[in-house]
């Protein structure tokens, strides 16, 4: 007869990581260690203007006085910041004008990741910026976007081509004083994407960046800045993978979004960094600061994330609702297996009148993992008639994992309406029997039930990526059960 559910779920959680290959690309890597010299080196390599170097140095000095946050429900050995290399770049020409110029080995890396850089992208109508380790390798579809006046390029390029824009917004949503990892990122960030949508423009295609950590012993510190002007719209997707390594690698990104009057930004992430093996060896430490500012009236920002990877996730994509009538949303699926730990959630800061926010968080824990939702809803005195709705569900698979919910509410405006719902459930045996009675294996039944559970969030992803995310959730649960 069927094995006990416990046994099965444990086997299911022993999944293989399909993106764990390493590419043989000639790299320029600086020696490990962090000092003013390191920062000067990075800035010089990138030929940066003086103001940016000074900004980095200020961030670095500030960082020196900070300590890693200890409040998350995460346990990991101390990170030695001197044992990381802060710059790794492919040796062949980093900035390209066409795909033909791309190093064939880099191209095959992206092919193996299943990133359809060429024809498929044309069909899907997606523009891609690919960041390998620290450097942006190629940005497709530049011309088509340029026709509409949309700027989509690497942030290093933007520093040279659009210095005023970068200078006007960089660090305005996430200042380097924000937190330990944001300060570190500001000091050493190497690349990332820059997007500017001019007033009245509905961006004609999905914009997308794939991040890949390839080099050994390096950290990745990318920085993304997206500005949606008045009456504009953009949908942006970020995907991430990394090779299988038995060392832990640090990823500390910062993403800043700014939406002006009636501007709208949809930011979607499918995060599949290497999570470590079933004994918890290796995997990415993911400490990320993502924040959007609804600066203008009736502006909208939404974060949709599907998090299946990383050994450790520390991430709270937030929205500051400053403009009156602005809207913020956070839709999240966080799946943890083996010994993964995730402490993720959001912050919704209501400042403007009639601002509304919505939080839908779906945690899935398997194996011996720990999955925490941490959310803050803050309604300032000025946020007359603000509204928030939060829903936090946890699904437990087996009984050695943990799910935790930490909701915080700070309400300073009596006309505000805040609703919060939370549930914790297991996959019931009678539901599994119903599925197997109809011919599905227990494994595909579980995958289907998990996808159903996550559906409300997946429905917010752009179509092509929803399909990808659905597969990813199923693969992440795949084990040795045939």
């Amino acid at each position: 007869m069927a094995q006990s559910e416990q046994e099965l779920l444990e086997q299911l959680s022993e999944r293989a990581y399909p993106h764990g290959f390493e590419s043989d690309i000639e790299q320029e890597i600086i020696p490990k260690g962090l000092s003013e010299e390191t920062i000067r080196f990075i800035s010089q390599r990138k030929n940066e203007p003086e103001w940016l170097l000074q900004w980095r140095l200020k961030a670095y000095k500030h960082w020196l006085g900070l300590k890693e946050p200890k409040w998350p429900k995460l346990t990991y050995p101390p990170i030695d910041y001197q044992d990381i290399s802060y710059y790794a770049a492919p040796k062949s020409a980093p900035v390209l004008n066409s795909l033909d110029e791309l190093d064939p080995e880099i191209k095959s890396t992206y092919d193996r990741l299943g990133i359809p850089l060429e024809e498929q992208m044309m069909l899907a109508g997606v523009a891609v910026d690919a960041v390998l380790d620290s450097v942006s390798v190629v940005t497709t579809f530049k011309e088509k976007l340029a026709e509409k006046g949309v700027i989509f390029c690497s942030i290093s390029e933007a520093v040279h081509l659009y210095p005023e824009l970068v200078r006007a917004y960089l660090g305005t949503v996430v200042p380097f004083t924000d937190n330990f990892f944001a300060a570190l990122n500001s000091a050493v960030f190497t690349d990332g994407s820059f997007v500017f949508i001019p007033p009245g423009v509905h961006c004609p295609m999905e914009l997308s960046t794939y991040f890949r950590i390839n080099a050994r012993g390096t950290g990745q510190f990318e920085r993304t800045l997206i500005v949606a002007s008045e009456d504009s719209y953009v949908s942006y997707l970020e995907g991430c993978t990394a090779p299988k390594r038995d060392e832990n690698q640090l990823h500390a990104a910062v993403v800043e979004l700014v939406a002006m009057d009636r501007g709208e930004i949809k930011y979607s992430t499918v995060q599949n960094w290497y999570p470590g093996d079933k004994d918890g060896k290796g995997g990415i430490y993911n400490f990320v600061t993502k924040r959007g500012l609804c600066k203008g009236v009736s502006s909208k920002i939404s974060w949709t994330q599907v998090e299946t990877g990383s050994a450790i996730t520390w991430k709270y994509p937030s929205v500051v609702l400053q403009g009156d009538d602005s809207r913020g949303a956070f839709y999240s699926v966080a799946m943890t297996t083996h010994l993964q730990q995730a402490d993720t959630g959001t912050k919704m800061i209501h400042i403007g009148k009639n601002t509304q926010s919505r939080i839908v968080s779906k945690g899935i824990s398997a194996g011996r993992s720990q999955n925490s939702y941490r959310g803050l809803v803050k309604i300032r005195k000025s946020a007359f008639k603000a509204r928030n709705y939060s829903q936090c569900d946890s699904l437990l698979m087996g009984n050695r994992c943990g799910a935790h919910t930490f909701p915080y509410f700070e309400i300073h405006q009596p006309t505000a309406i805040v609703e919060h719902e939370a549930t914790t459930s297991k996959i019931a045996e009678d539901i599994l029997f119903y599925c197997t009675q109809r011919g599905l294996s227990r494994e595909s039944a579980i995958a289907m039930i998990v996808n159903g559970y996550a559906r409300e969030v997946l429905d917010h992803l752009p179509m092509e990526f929803a399909v990808e995310a659905r597969k990813l959730l199923a693969i992440s649960l795949e084990g040795s059960v045939g």
Binding site: M1, A428, E429, Y434, C435, N451, G452, R455
Partner: protein
């Protein structure tokens, strides 16, 4: 013989629920099981379908093959279908994608090619019409927000989609109004086939006016205490189960 059950005993948590059941259903026949609440009807159906968690002895054979050690999904693919007394909801799992996966599993098992999307959709429309299940319901997650009657009709719809060899209907009639009952019964009658057998479990003889059984068995306290033709159902309705209890006492 399509289904043969021999001296089937089952207990759960030390409590014996089925106490030596013998039942043979030839191909193409419809058998009914009647019995009071708690007599073991649902337990019998679950065990034929392969539900885990019972201590079982005896034998269940499908087309002569012992199936007691088969997983439920293998039994399903081999043609056993159970219309549940209490169908569960599958939040967020679309009925059509769910059924497509199920139908293709069965086809794979039978060595038939998988159905492509358009062939599958056409099949779904046809079968849904048979039990008057609206297109709107088909687009919803499995049983989510369905009324009691819609859930039961959905079970018959799934049976029609999967074209089983051996269909077990566990109190599909209970909770249905007369119109819904007629729709379900007509659906079931359309599915009667020389290569398909059915085991219809019911409380009331009412259903058996629409679905005419070849044999009627009475299950009481975990054992089949009487079998007969369709007139047994009428006698039971008239005289009640106490009559059988009395008969049994006389004979023992």
């Amino acid at each position: 013989m399509l289904l043969e059950i021999e001296n089937l005993r089952a207990s759960i948590e030390g409590k014996e629920i089925l106490k030596g059941i013998n039942l043979n259903i030839p191909s193409g026949e419809v058998h009914a099981i009647m019995g009071p609440n708690g007599s073991g009807k649902s337990t019998l159906s679950s065990i034929i379908a392969g539900k885990d968690g019972y201590d079982i002895s005896g034998s269940i054979r499908l087309d002569g093959q012992e199936i007691l050690d088969w997983e439920p999904e293998i039994r399903s693919r081999a043609g056993i279908f159970l219309a549940f007394q209490y169908p569960v909801e599958l939040p967020g799992v679309g009925l059509s994608s769910f059924l497509r996966a199920c139908v293709n599993e069965r086809r794979k098992y039978l060595g038939e090619p998988e159905l492509d999307a358009s062939a599958f959709l056409a099949l779904m429309r046809e079968k849904a019409a048979m039990v008057e299940l609206s297109q709107e319901l088909i687009r919803r997650p499995v049983n989510q927000g369905f009324s009691g009657g819609e859930k039961k009709r959905n079970e018959i719809f799934q049976m029609a989609m999967l074209e089983p060899r051996m269909a077990i209907l566990d109190e599909t009639d209970s909770g249905l109004d007369i119109d819904a009952l007629r729709i379900v019964a007509e659906g079931v009658n359309k599915l009667r086939h020389a290569q398909r057998s059915m085991l219809v479990i019911t409380h009331y003889q009412r259903l058996l006016e629409y679905i005419i059984p070849d044999r009627v068995h009475v299950l009481m306290d975990g054992a089949i205490v009487m079998s007969g033709d369709r007139t047994l159902a009428l006698t039971l309705e008239e005289k009640g189960y106490d009559w059988i209890r009395a008969e049994q006492e006389v004979s023992s």
